[in-house]
């Protein structure tokens, strides 16, 4: 079984395990409270029913009216401001459910709207997040230069710290603002911001629901929209920095490609420069070389740190297996470095661009951190 299959199986098993653990903990935390609350509420309901003399059907009527009126309590939900809020919750996949389309046409349009809007939003947030990461990296380098530090390169650890700090401060700012405007406790407002910015969006806490805020407080409405979009950008930048590289770990391909891409392999020697042959040879060869150790390295990497690019800079010219990081080997970065290395060490007729690239070896390390 090749590495990718093993990796995928491990991930599936860890998710199942994670779900089981989560279920057990939530059960322990919430069950008792739920049953006691349910008893108390039913008790109260019985009292009220006796007090007002309801029959079962009457209560059914009241219940229906109350449940249907619930979304209307926050004011008009489908005027332009409310619809904008709703559209935001659709394409960012937050999906509070505080207002849902009731007409069938609204539901159908919602689906089409989401089909185009969600990928657009995903790409937009990742694009903007990458720009932010690049800018932060530039600022940090300038700061390091100004402060006269010895090592002027911005490491992955620096970027992760800055990313974490900005996520935390985004959450805190939002929590402070919403606890003030919505009269929630700070903890509940924090919880609301977290659930919103991770796009879970339960809907138990929803901003702009009370007091007809959508109509009466336009500055607060604007603040809410901006906060959601900016906060999602900050989280997106952090995901772009830390998680995206794991999403793009590509297929090993040496088995499948041999069958499916046979022509491609065969055509490689026809190519112009020797570097590419070295590149292709080094790629699958290196990948086949150290599977079990790579797997261990992968697991430890997933669990522990993301300092691979710092270690990369040492492993750059060590083509022969000093680096046993499977993500690295199958990443674009590795192949780029590999060509560079091979041409630096091997070929005297390497094109000058490649030599220049080798000489400018600092560049790839700094640059590639945001992928």
């Amino acid at each position: 079984m090749n590495t990718q299959n093993i990796r995928t199986l491990i991930l599936i098993l860890s998710i199942v395990f994670y779900l089981l653990i989560g279920a057990a903990v939530f059960d322990a935390l919430e069950s008792k409270s739920e049953s006691s609350r349910q008893r108390a509420l039913e008790q109260k309901l019985k009292e009220l029913q006796k007090k007002y003399g309801f029959m079962e059907d009457d209560y059914g009527d009241i219940e229906r009216v109350v449940l249907l009126s619930e979304p209307h309590r926050g004011g008009r939900q489908w005027k332009f401001a409310g619809s904008f809020y709703f559209a935001t919750t659709v394409i960012t996949t937050i999906g509070y459910g505080h207002a849902v389309p009731r007409t069938d046409a609204g539901k159908a349009f919602c689906m089409f709207y989401a089909v185009l809007g969600i990928p657009l939003t995903l790409v937009m947030f990742q694009s903007l997040g990458e720009r932010i990461n690049t800018f932060v990296r530039y600022l940090l380098r300038r700061t390091k230069q100004c402060l006269g530090l010895r090592k002027k390169e911005v490491s992955m650890g620096n970027m992760v710290l800055v990313g974490l700090f900005s996520c935390m401060s985004t959450l805190c700012i939002g929590a402070a603002a919403f606890s003030h405007f919505e009269n929630w406790t700070f903890f509940n407002a924090c919880y609301y911001c977290f659930i919103t910015l991770t796009t879970i969006g339960f809907g138990d806490f929803v901003a702009l629901k009370e007091g007809d805020a959508l109509k009466n407080r336009p500055p607060y409405v604007a603040f809410c929209f901006m906060y959601i979009l900016v906060g999602l950008t900050v989280i997106g930048a952090f995901l772009n920095l830390v998680v995206l590289r794991f999403l793009t770990v590509s297929s090993d391909g040496s088995d499948v490609r041999a069958e499916v891409g046979g022509e491609e392999q065969g055509s490689q020697p026809n190519d112009m420069q020797g570097e590419r042959r070295t590149l292709d040879a080094a790629g699958p060869e290196a990948e086949r070389r150290s599977e079990p150790s790579r797997l261990g390295a992968f697991i430890s990497r997933v669990c522990c740190g993301l300092d691979e690019y710092r270690s990369n800079s040492h492993g750059l010219y060590d083509q022969t297996g000093g680096h046993n990081n499977p993500v690295f080997y199958s990443s674009i970065s590795y192949r780029l470095d590999n060509v560079c290395c091979s041409s630096c060490t091997v070929s005297s007729q390497a094109s000058p661009c490649v030599l220049a690239f080798c000489q400018g070896k600092n560049n790839p390390h700094i640059r590639r951190n945001s992928l």
């Binding site: 279920a23 009731r102 112009m272 490649v354 000489q359 640059r367």
Partner: protein, 399 residues
């Protein structure tokens, strides 16, 4: 302006426009219905107040109790089955809200749980999706061979069509099942499956909430969980195929820019006439920049025209992408991603000026997708200029 900045700005503007247009359309579709429903409910409420001789405060009190009881009506939500359901809605970010932690401990644990669970789930679904894509590609290739077709390569368009079909069929299978088990209409069940599998998760329709299903119907519960996870894997496979490459475009361009700067730096040292193609105040972090020590001709003066050329290049890129997909659907696009990185026209001029002997493999058809002999190309030129050898990186198309 650099291409990445142009692209990002364009995406931001597109998204805002999309939001505004969507808001206007939702307004038109739903406002009337909302108003009429509201009026009806107000009337009904007045009737009830009158019939039972309730004051408004008393009714509010009753309302509060009823609303709080709502989630309890659907059954016990926090036994193991319900908690598992909740945990799924957290880490997949569906987040129906049919049950939400009420204790502070539950909320805190929920946040920590999501912090680790969401990236893990993202990576898992993309990993599974990539495996699915590879397997489908293999199957299709075998099928084409069996059918004795002339071209047995699996093109991108094949994969996209299969991806779309599998998404639609997943939704339809779910719609059939849930309309049967939950008593919803087929359209509402389809809407439920769509909202669930795109992880929007409004919570207006939620499975396993009627007739105490969480406690009494374990097979249906198991089916629901498996359906949600499998459906997300299918959607994830399609996203992996079609969308993930776009999320890495900016980073690819940054890389390319730095390579070119390094190249120019070297050529500058060699004493050639260099047209620095990089915006001197760009926020990129490459230290060498254009100042390789040699004469940098016309670097500032050409900034505006370079910016325009960047925009033009980006437009050409989209144009050629569309035409590629239309005309070259039979080309082997398997391991090359034609829409990724067309070359900057300004730097191409640089190369032309320097007269470097680069190959120009793509002049044959003018379409960047004709990559029979150069399938390792990930950076695709607009057909006007050469591609550096070291940039023929083997990209996998399932990225």
């Amino acid at each position: 302006m650099k291409r990445q900045n142009v692209r990002t700005l364009a995406l931001i503007i597109c998204t805002f426009t999309y939001l505004i247009v969507g808001a206007a359309i939702f307004d038109v579709l739903e406002s009337l219905e909302e108003t009429s429903q509201r009026q009806q409910l107000d009337l009904k409420k007045k009737e009830l107040l009158h019939t039972f001789n309730l004051s408004t405060d008393e009714f509010d009190e009753l309302e509060k109790v009823v609303l709080q009881l709502k989630s309890h009506k659907a059954g016990v939500q926090w036994e193991f089955a319900g908690s598992f359901y909740f945990a799924i809605t957290v880490i997949t970010t569906i987040g129906y809200g049919h049950a939400a932690p009420s204790t502070d401990g539950g909320k805190a644990f929920c946040m920590l749980y999501a912090l680790l669970g969401i990236p893990l789930t993202l990576v898992m679904f993309q990993s599974v999706g990539e495996r699915i894509n590879t397997f489908v590609r293999l199957l299709l290739h075998r099928l084409k061979k069996c059918l004795g077709m002339r071209r047995t390569e699996v093109s991108m368009v094949n994969m996209v069509i299969i991806g779309c079909t599998s998404c639609m069929s997943t939704l339809c299978v779910g719609a059939l099942a849930f309309s049967q088990f939950e008593g919803w209409s087929f359209f509402h069940a389809y809407y439920y499956c769509f909202i669930t599998l795109t992880t929007i998760g409004f919570g207006d329709y939620v499975a396993l909430q009627s007739e105490q299903a969480l406690q009494n119907k374990p097979e249906y519960v198991a089916f629901s969980f498996i359906y949600i996870l499998t459906g997300l894997a299918v959607i994830g496979a399609f996203l992996n195929l079609a969308v993930l490459r776009f999320m890495t475009m900016n980073a690819e361009d940054e890389k390319r820019d730095a390579e070119q700067r390094a190249l120019l730096a070297h050529n500058g040292q060699a004493g050639g006439h260099i047209n620095c193609s990089v915006d001197p105040v760009s926020p990129s972090s490459s230290p060498s920049g254009c100042g390789g020590g040699s004469a940098v001709g016309g670097s500032s003066g050409g900034a505006a025209s370079r910016g325009l050329r960047n925009v033009y290049a980006e437009v050409l890129h989209f144009q050629s992408m569309c035409s590629c997909l239309w005309y070259k659907s039979r080309e082997k696009l398997q391991y090359s991603i034609p829409m990724i990185i067309p070359r900057d026209l300004s730097t191409s001029d640089t190369y032309m000026e320097q007269g470097e002997a680069f190959s120009n493999p793509l002049h044959s058809n003018g379409c960047m997708c004709s990559l029979q002999h150069h399938s390792g190309i990930s950076s695709v030129s607009t057909g006007l200029h050469s591609v550096n050898s070291y940039r023929r990186l083997k990209r996998r198309s399932s990225i």
